[in-house]
Amino acid sequence: MLEYAWLIPVFPFVAFLLISLLPKRTLFWEDGGGYAIGGAASAFIVSMLVIWDVINGHTLTGPAAPEATWLVIGSFTIKFGIWIDQLTALMLIVVSVVGTLVVIYSGGYMHEEGGRRRRYYAEIMLFISVMYGLVIASNYLEMFIFWELVGLCSYLLIGFWYEKPSAASAAKRAFIVTRVGDIMFMAGIIIIFKYVGSFDFETLFHGGGFASMPANMQTLSTALIFGGAIGKSAQFPLHEWLPDAMEGPTTVSALIHAATMVKAGVYLTARTYPLLVATPDSLILVAVIGGVTALIAATVALVATDIKRVLAYSTISQLGYMILGLGAGGYLVIHASTPNGYSAATFHLMNHAFFKALLFLCAGSVIHAVGTNDMRLMGGLGKKMRITSTTMLIGALAIAGVPPLSGFWSKDEVLAAVYHAGDWDPVFTLLWILGIATAFMTAFYMFRMWFLTFTGEPRSEYHAHESPKIMTVPLMILAGLAIVSGFALFIGQGFKGFMAGAIGDTPIHYEAEPLGDIAVEIFTDPLTYVSLVLAVAGILIAYRIYYMPGFDRSVFARGVPGAFQRALENRWYISKFYDDFAYKVVYGFSIVADLFDRYVIDGMVNGFAYLGANTGNRIRKAQSGNVQRYASLIVVGIVLLLIFVIYVVPWGRGL
């Protein structure tokens, strides 16, 4: 079955072609929604079959994988192949489940859009198919191609309501900022190609070609590849595009900016693990950026008033967690030969995809009902939207890390991995403290959001009603997944054993622990209780401030807290810094370039033309129209010619 994995991207792509090319009246239900669901569902079925095979222990990597030759350039061939291992299976679960549920949900959410639904479904299908392609790619070049295509679809979908100038500029911003990351990615793989001569994962991970590079080039190339992840996964300093990307429809935010595209950066880092563990300096970079991002994003989320912005910042923060986990896990692989950090981060990836998509879709349901994104105008929705409020509560509990929901298991694993990596480098202990603080803040702002939206008295006039079944059923499915996906730690060999197979041939000693031991280990570790206590404390403080009446929130507006609050509201002025920088430096440079182009280059071209015209102008005066002058010129010419022929030529011949 695994050889047919290449069909997975084909189904949504066919759906894309059908939706965009068929005449309008054959599109039936919801302007193409039917085809979209069909494409997404078929891809889902095939991915489930593939995943079942992988769980049973088959992988399709290396020379056995089917591949097609695309370009032959001299002695180098570029191939398109597939690579299925446990990491791929994980990503397939995420993309297929969330993708299909979001497409079903869009059937209800985008109902009033009218003729634009067709464009929406076509773009969503294109996105899903290229995301699948990215996940099963077998060499860096193919992955990069799909990477760029994913960025393109993100641009198209963020700017879906293109007549809104904020949406159009947000789409541009997303594309340009991720482009910076993409350039770094490209530079990284080019450096690898220069030294090793190949892009294939097989050659790089198992062939030992990577080890033959000079050490500083190795570090540089892996750091640059991680740069691509920084851009696509919205890490500091390239994180500002994600909150602005909330200008797109909420389903787009759920699919792309919570569950799939931003995970592509984490996926890339995880996929590059065999290379990263050879360069510990890159691992420190990875971990530091992850930790810093997590903290910064969490602080800004504390004061966000737009419900989608809160979720966007929390996405950035959780991605920071994953990246931090991967960085720390690398140290664990190098020094302790356990895949703890790697498996923890990828486990958190899966769980986060589910509960973040759940949260976004609930937010979409709220926005659909109320008509506004601003939480200050909401309140008291819990009475009217029972299902949404319950599922969102489940999602908030999951992300805060309350057992037995999924977030608890994976967050704890990540924090434990970071703490243990501190044994080899004190930087990780510092990052652990940042992680703990972030966990506290996560719980706080999530419940702030929930309390502000669903409890209390309505703060403005709205007519809210529960969403139609087509929207609430995916919510319930995702809530169920958010609850149970944490228990994947305990099935089969345990998640750690499952993921250990994906790290190539770095020696990993992993004994399959009996599953009961895993649970015991978790609950007897004091670290678990630290993060649990902080999570509960965060929830309680949010409860005190936002639910119970009588707390004067204006205490935050004055003095030191006031300055802090303003800094947070301005997103630590990072966005402003980028805008100023772009305006002054880049615009100034572009003015210089424009002047150069206009005066020097155009000046030269114009100069040539002027020269030609001027010369012609002068020479034409020679035509006087006087026939006798012409005749005399002829005679003079003949005379000169005769002199030349009769005297000069024999003289020259005699020389």
């Binding site: 005066k621 020679a622 035509q623 006087s624 129209g625 006087n626 026939v627 006798q628 005749a631 005679v635």
Partner: protein, 106 residues
């Protein structure tokens, strides 16, 4: 007898005089006459060569002089056409001064 060079020199001088006339005379009819002079110079050349070396194929033949005859006929035709043109030009510009007829200029 007279060396052939005399004839040829004579013809070249005539040619030069005709050329000068074409280049320097204001009146269009005088220019035509100078062209005639040049044509006649060429004719003299033909006749000269034909007179001195007639027994080319063993038979007395006078190709050069015949050619000169033809050339006179052509010259006559050309003068007829030329005078017609000068008449048309005069009708248009009321002058036959070649310096004044310079419309085909820049």
């Amino acid at each position: 007898m007279i060396p052939i060079e005399y004839w040829l020199v004579f013809s070249s001088l005539l040619f030069a005089i005709g050329a000068y006339g074409v280049m320097s005379k204001k009146n269009a009819i005088v220019v035509l006459m100078s062209i005639e002079i040049m044509l006649n110079a060429a004719n003299i050349n033909f006749v000269a060569f034909s007179s001195y070396h007639t027994t080319l194929h063993g038979v007395a033949e006078a190709s050069g002089q015949v050619f000169a005859l033809f050339s006179i006929a052509i010259a006559a035709a050309e003068v007829a056409v030329g005078l017609g043109i000068i008449l048309a030009v005069y009708r248009r510009y009321q002058t036959i001064d070649v310096d004044k007829i310079n419309i085909l200029r820049w």
